[in-house]
Structures are given as C-alpha cells and as structure tokens.
C-alpha cells in the first residue's frame, strides 16, 4: 500500500511541478502568438535567431543571478561589471596586438582575462558581503558605481573600440553559426545546462537553496555558509564574463552606457521565472524562460508602430506585471511561502 501511495504522491508532485513550469512557458507562448498576429515575420527564422541570440546576454547573466538570489543574496553590479570587463578586455586585446598579432591567440588572451576579471569581481562582491558583513544590496550598489565609473575613466568618457583587424578575427563568435544555431545561443545553452546541473544535481546547489531558505539551518548543518555564498557571487561574475565574451564581438566596443540596467533585467528574468527573491527556491529553467520573455517583449515592441515609442516602457511594464500575474495564478494554492 505504501508503495502505491508514494507513487501517486510522486506523480502529484511532478504534475504540480509541471504547472509551475508552465507559468512562464505559457506567458512566453502568449507573447509569441501576439507577435505573430502583429506581424507574421515575427516567426521568421531570421527573427527567431535574432531573438535567441539577443536573449543570450541577459540569459547567461540571469543564470548566475539565479544562484545569488537562491542563496538569499542580490547582485546589482552585473551591468557595470559587464561594461568594465568589456572595457578592460578591449584594452588588453588592443595592446596585445603588437605582441601576439591580430589572430586567435589575442582573442583567447582577451577571453581568458575576461574570465579572470569576472571571477575576481565576483570574489570581491562575495567577500565584502560575507566577511565584511555588509548587506549585498549595499556592496553591489557600491561596486556598481565603481565599475561604471571605471569604464568611463578607461574610455576617457568616450568609447573603447577593439582594433579593427582583431574585430575581424573575433566577429564570428557573435555572428557565426554552428549546426544552424548562432554561437551565442550555444553559449547560452551550455551555461544553462551547466547551471541547471549545478543547482539541481550537486550538493552545492542544495547548499545554495538551504542558505537562502534558512541561514541558521544551513550553518547548523555544517555547511560553510560564507564560502557557498561567496561562490554564488563568483559564479555570477564568471557568467557575466561569459556574457561579455559574446557581447564584445557584437559591437566591438565598450563605453559607459554598456550594460546599463542589465542588473534589473537579469533580476527580473530570474523572478519572472519563479525564483523567490528572498531566497530558498531557484529555478534555472524558469530563468531561461524569463530572459526569453523579456527579450521577446522588446522585440514585439519593435514590430509595431501602433504604440507611441514613448509608451514602450509602459507596455513593457504592463506585460511584465501581467505575465507574472498569470503565472502566479496558475501556481494556485501550492505557492511557495516566502516568509
């Protein structure tokens, strides 16, 4: 008998899970239908590819943010961090041209530096939060300002541009495809799978959830809370650096306007996806959908001139709220308590 009960309960669980996942998925589907109705070209291969490629930046960053938020933290610095990493990367690559030429070696050097910078920036956020015992909000608000102004400083107020020949070498990373999918989409897929695996299939993922759920419990379970929290910020940093690596070849430059408001977009993607802002419950799958939803909204608004351009923000805001509302409604009573 117990067998039977357990089985049916497991089924109940997984069905419930499906409904939860369905929330953002349905929202995305509705958006796609609207897009198609507005303009059939929305579903053209070219547009879908553009859409996916564009989601890659925010998506990859948001996957990092899922870890931070699941563990009860927040990172406001990601947008500026991306700008600063892009800037430094460009400076390094440009100055490496003399030594290494304009070939793949220089690009790889740039990418390597990007990862190191992302790692370091994440580490700084993490250590200030855990060892410095300062609220993550304040730490990352501070580093947000710092990175933003550093990139302005490096660019002397203007724009840092990649050496023209290097751009040719690097360009395919954004613009080329592999097996029919653009490379940024592959990067997004790989980061997603890795993130999903890390959050759902490793002890580390469970520790993130436990810390976000109840830090005292996590501590009493002999989890190294500070280390795990710091690591979430490091993961976030590395995600930012990966996003930057595929961002730089797109525009070949960085300036103080690079990545403005990405932090809010990333956090919004995470929460639209169903992760709880106060921590303790994270969903990578939802985050991916969240990123797609946000990009699709922007895409659809470019598709129609029915609405005054000035009201784009209004539409965006309304759609986000409605999408989340629909989604929460379908969770019904089994919704996660955030207290």
């Amino acid at each position: 008998m117990s067998e039977v009960t357990t089985n049916s309960e497991l089924k109940g669980r997984s069905m419930q899970f499906d409904i939860k996942t369905a929330g953002p998925a349905i929202a995305l589907l509705v958006l796609c239908v609207i897009g198609f109705l507005l303009n059939p070209a929305f579903l053209s291969e070219g547009n879908l590819t553009n859409l996916l490629t564009r989601s890659a930046f925010i998506g990859i960053i948001a996957i990092g943010a899922t870890f931070v938020i699941t563990a009860g933290g927040i990172d406001l610095s990601v947008g500026s961090m991306a700008a600063a990493i892009a800037g430094v990367m460009i400076i390094i690559m440009n100055s490496a041209v003399d030594a290494f030429g304009t070939g793949v070696a220089t690009v790889l050097l740039g990418c390597g530096c990007s990862v190191i910078l992302g790692f370091g920036a994440g580490l700084i956020n993490g250590v200030l939060t855990t060892k410095g015992k300062i609220e993550a909000f304040i730490v990352t608000l501070g580093t947000m300002g710092i990175y933003r102004s550093l990139v302005t400083y490096f660019a002397d107020g203007g724009t840092l541009s990649l050496n023209f020949d290097l751009r040719g070498t690097y360009r395919p990373v954004y613009y080329d495809s592999f097996l029919g999918l653009p490379i940024p989409v592959w990067a997004f897929i790989i980061v997603s799978v890795a993130g999903w695996f890390l959050l759902n299939r490793t002890a580390f993922g469970r520790y993130c959830t436990a810390i976000g759920s109840n830090e005292a419990v996590a501590k009493y379970s002999a989890i190294k809370v500070d280390r795990v929290k710091t690591l979430t910020y490091v993961i976030q940093g590395v995600c930012v650096s990966v996003a930057t690596i595929i961002y730089v070849p797109r525009l070949g430059s960085a300036s103080s306007t690079t990545g403005v408001l990405w932090e809010l977009e990333a956090i919004a993607a995470v929460i639209i996806g169903g992760t709880v802002l106060k921590g303790g419950y994270g969903r990578i799958g939802g985050t991916i959908l969240g990123a797609l939803i946000l990009t699709t909204i922007g895409n659809i608004l470019n598709f129609t001139d029915m609405i005054s351009n000035y009201l784009n923000g209004t539409m965006q805001g309304l759609i986000i709220i409605v999408a989340v509302m629909l989604q929460r409604a379908s969770w019904g009573k089994s919704k996660i308590r955030t207290t």
Binding site: S2, T5, T6, E9, L10, R13, R201, T202, A203, R206, Y207, T209, A210, G212, S213, N214, A216, V217, A218, K219, Y220, S221, A222, I223, V276, G280, Y281, I336, R337, T339
Partner: protein, 507 residues
C-alpha cells in the same frame, strides 16, 4: 543512590562545565556523561539549562569553563554542527529544517550522497523512504517541509537524526508534539539504536516517557547539577520533586462540573475545508473541551478555519448564536475567540524581538491611547504576565529566540490571554513545559473555565486530555469520530476512536 560517572566507559562527558551568556550565568559546574548503548535522560525545569548543556556537549556553544571529554580525552568541539563528523548529532529543541526544501533534501543536508560529484538522488530518496516507513510516517520524500504539520516536521527531524551514523545522539524534546502512538514508534527506533551501541541523550518534560525509555536520569535545577540516578530507582513523582525542589500536589485541579444549562457559546455545523470534513460540535460556556486524535487528524485545521486563518469551504460557525464565519483573525479576536498555535517558532512569536512587543502584539489595539502606543501600560502588562505565568528569563531584555523553550511557550500563552477572550483554543498547551509549570497551567485553565471562559484544549498528551477536560472529541482523518463525557473519558476509548476502530453515529 548515586553512581559516580565512570570516565573510561563514557563516550562523551562534560566535566565541571559552566556557561554564561555575557554576564548571565546559565550553567554552574555541571558534570554529565554518556555511555554507549544507554539512554541518559536530562530533566529539569524550564530554563534549568538543559538545552544549553547539550548544545555545549555538541559544540554549538563553547563552555565558559570546564572540559569536554570525547572517548576520555579532552577535545575542543568544532562549532556549527561540525561535531557531526565526530559522531555527535543533536536534534535541536526548535525545529531546524529548511522550510522550502523537501524532506529528502533536509534529511541529507550537509552530507549528501554523491557519486563523482553528482547527487545520487534515487539512492537518497530510497533511503529516506525506508526511514520514513520505519517511523511509520506516510509522507513522500519529495514533500516540502512547509507543507507538513509540525508533528510531521518533528518526525522528519527524528528521521534526520537516526539517518546519521551517530555514536552519540542527543535529542532535545523530540516528543513534545508527538502523540503517544507516535512516541511509541519513535521509542522503538531509539531502542534499536541503543542495541547498536549508540549513546543517546533524551530531554523531555514527559516524565512517564523518561521513566520508560531511560537507563539513567540526570536532574538539573537552575543550572546546577542535582543528581544522576538509575531510572529504575526513580518514579515520575520523585523526578518531579527533584526537579522542582518541592513536593508537587495534584497535577490536575479538581474538576468543576459545567452548568448543565450553560449557554452554547460556539457551535460549528458541517464544517469542511482543507483537511477537514463535515465537522460539527458545540461548546458551552465555562466548558473545557478536549480534542484528541493522531497526527494530521485535522484538529488544528478545524480551529484555524474557525478563526479565519484558513478558508472555510463549507459549513457554518456560530458564536453565541450569531453566524460567525470569520474572514480574518482580527474579527475572530474581536468576537472573543483566540487561538494559540502550537508552532511557536514560525507562527507564534517574533524570535528576533524582545518579550514586550511579542506579548502585546495580539491585543495591541488595547494598548493604544490617543493614537500612541502606551508603552507604560505595555510594561505593566509584561510585569503582570511574567508573574502570572511564571516566565523566567534571566535577562529580560534578550530576544525571545534566546529564551528557553518552555518560557517561550509561557510567553505565547500570556500573549493570547492579553486579548481576554471568551473562547480560548489552546493547541498543545503544555508543549515543552516542565511539570511544575504544567500544574500551574492546568490550574490556570480550570480557573478560566470557572470564570465562565470556554476552553478548547487540543493535545497529544492523553493524560492531559483525561485529567483536564469535561468532554473530549476525537478526530480522525478530518472527521469527528465521537465525543466522550464523564467516566467515558479514558485512554482505551480515545484510542479506539482515534484509530478508527469505533465511530459514533452521526447525530
């Protein structure tokens, strides 16, 4: 007779351990030891220092002075539960589970099974299912903790503890919210572990249980070691006496009969909702009505529905003849019904606040004078409550979370009584309260009833129900199975109803 602790046979021992929090001393030179294959119980009044002692023994607190010996050699235990690696496992008095995670995740938290860095989820789930079956808990390993009732959570804590390969298993009031049936299952597990040579420390205020399961008993009073004796030389009465330091008269007050034509003050007709099906009953003025049943029988749910905490799907509630399907707790309170939750940590008290704001929170509107909070009146109320309920906090300005469990419970009782209800529903009134105070609480309840207040007692402690209540309603799986009065209130009857062996014809 007192045995001198034999160090050579003890796995874990405390030697002349003292502990102070800031300038407040809590333990005074206490010695305590645990041997393999024995159950050593620790008893004492609320605030005596039991929890503090065992936290010191498992590394969560550092002793201010004294030594901890593991296998006869002095050790400095690592903090934060890392002593688990040494085989010392502690179940905290306050539930220590991550609410948003599943049972399986919680049971294995911090020591997940993995293969090549990947979680072996199937294996873990199977193991957890095995443990759950062993303790007779009918929930899925994938259930979220936040969806469980508090008793189920306690069972999960127990599962968590027995699943660890402990050499020393220390449990702080694991049975406080368990019914006798569940306690029996739990004891079976304890005996099994004991046979395997695990050393077990058991803290409880249920002295009957202590007598049943223990090999030795240590008594603490006001942070001082009083005695360590073999359990078979002690009776519950003797234990109580040593704990309290004086002779205890009758635990239960004499029962006043309810006026037979007293008004019906609360009537519930055909109530249905989540976890409750077609529940009807009446409560008269001045009556003490007991609710009995197994874990998850729906007793709590009935009164949460009555008080507007969970939605009513069907049925009606009448207070003093007036229809009263309350949509909010505030309305219920204003109509004179107060509900005291058994989940004091997550529903009862603000753990990060001090006593005063907690005490007055439920009836805060009574402390408003010309738009302002009357802090002086609050202070008076606090003094009164401390006296009336014998709340003992050595440092009255600490956060409630740092008070001893029993004293938290007393504060919670005081909080609900601030609203001066006509009907008070007390869920597990003596959860974690020592015998001496229990007696006070029982007399308090009887006095309330004598004043004409109607009291509903939901309790898992059968003697409490039998000794205190005028009438008892037994529930099972969300239904009322029957109602007992007078001489019919006895253990055998209650168990028959609770187990579904007997059911009253619906009236």
């Amino acid at each position: 007779m007192q045995k001198s602790p034999k160090k050579e046979t003890a796995i874990l021992a405390a030697e002349r351990v003292s502990k102070s929090f800031g300038s407040v001393p809590v333990l005074f030179s206490v010695s305590f030891d645990i041997r393999p294959g024995e159950v050593h119980s620790l008893i004492g009044e609320n605030g005596a220092g039991k929890s503090t002692l065992i936290k010191t023994l498992s590394g969560f607190h550092k002793p201010t002075s004294g030594r901890i010996l593991l296998d006869g050699t002095e050790v400095k235990l690592p903090p934060n539960g890392e002593a688990e690696h040494l085989g010392i496992v502690l179940i905290h008095q306050e539930l220590n589970l991550a609410e948003q995670m599943t049972v399986e995740e919680n049971v294995f938290l911090g020591r997940e099974l993995r293969r090549g860095g990947v979680l072996s989820r199937v294996e873990m789930r199977q193991k957890v299912r095995g443990y759950l079956d062993a303790v007779g808990l009918d929930i899925s390993p994938a259930s979220r903790i936040s969806d469980l009732s508090i008793a189920e959570k306690q069972m999960v804590e127990i599962v968590k503890a027995i699943s660890r390969d402990a050499r020393v298993l220390i449990m702080d009031e694991p049975t406080a919210v368990l019914t006798e049936a569940e306690t029996e299952i739990f004891f079976r597990q304890v005996r099994r572990l004991k046979e395997q040579g695990v050393a077990i420390v058991f803290v409880s205020h249920k002295l009957g249980e202590v007598k049943e399961i223990s090999d030795r008993v240590t008594i603490l009073r006001d942070g001082q070691w009083i005695a360590t004796q073999d359990a078979d030389q002690l009776t519950p009465d003797a234990m109580a006496q040593m704990m309290v330091g004086r002779e205890l008269s009758d635990l239960y007050p004499p029962m006043n009969e309810v006026d037979f034509d007293a008004d019906t003050i609360l009537e519930v007709k055909g109530l249905s909702g989540k976890g409750i099906r077609d529940v009807s009953f009446k409560l008269r003025q001045g009556e003490i009505l007991g609710f009995s049943g197994l874990i998850g029988a729906g007793r709590t749910a009935v009164f949460e529905a009555v008080c507007g905490l969970i939605p009513i799907e069907n049925g009606e509630v009448f207070v003093a003849g007036q229809s009263a399907n309350f949509g909010s707790v505030a309305k219920a309170r204003d109509a004179g019904i107060a509900y005291l939750t058994k989940d004091r940590k997550s529903k009862g008290l603000l753990m990060q606040q001090r006593m005063r704001p907690n005490l007055t929170l439920f009836a805060l509107n009574q402390f408003v004078k010309r738009l302002r909070l009357d802090k002086a009146a609050e202070e008076v109320a606090l003094k009164r409550a401390i006296r009336r309920f014998d709340i003992r906090a050595r440092d009255p300005s600490i956060n409630v979370g740092d008070m001893s469990g029993g004293n938290q419970q007393k504060l919670l009782l005081a909080k609900v009584m601030e609203a001066e209800p006509r009907i008070v529903v007390i869920d597990e009134p003596t959860r974690g309260i020592d015998v001496g105070t229990k007696q006070q609480v029982y007399h308090f309840i009887a006095a309330l009833a004598a004043e004409g207040v109607s009291v509903v007692v939901i309790s898992s402690e059968m003697p409490e129900i039998i000794g205190l209540c005028h009438r008892v309603i037994v529930m099972r799986e969300g239904r009322v199975m029957g109602s007992l009065t007078g001489d019919h209130i006895n253990e055998a009857e209650i168990v028959r109803y609770a187990a579904g062996l007997k059911q009253e014809e619906a009236a």
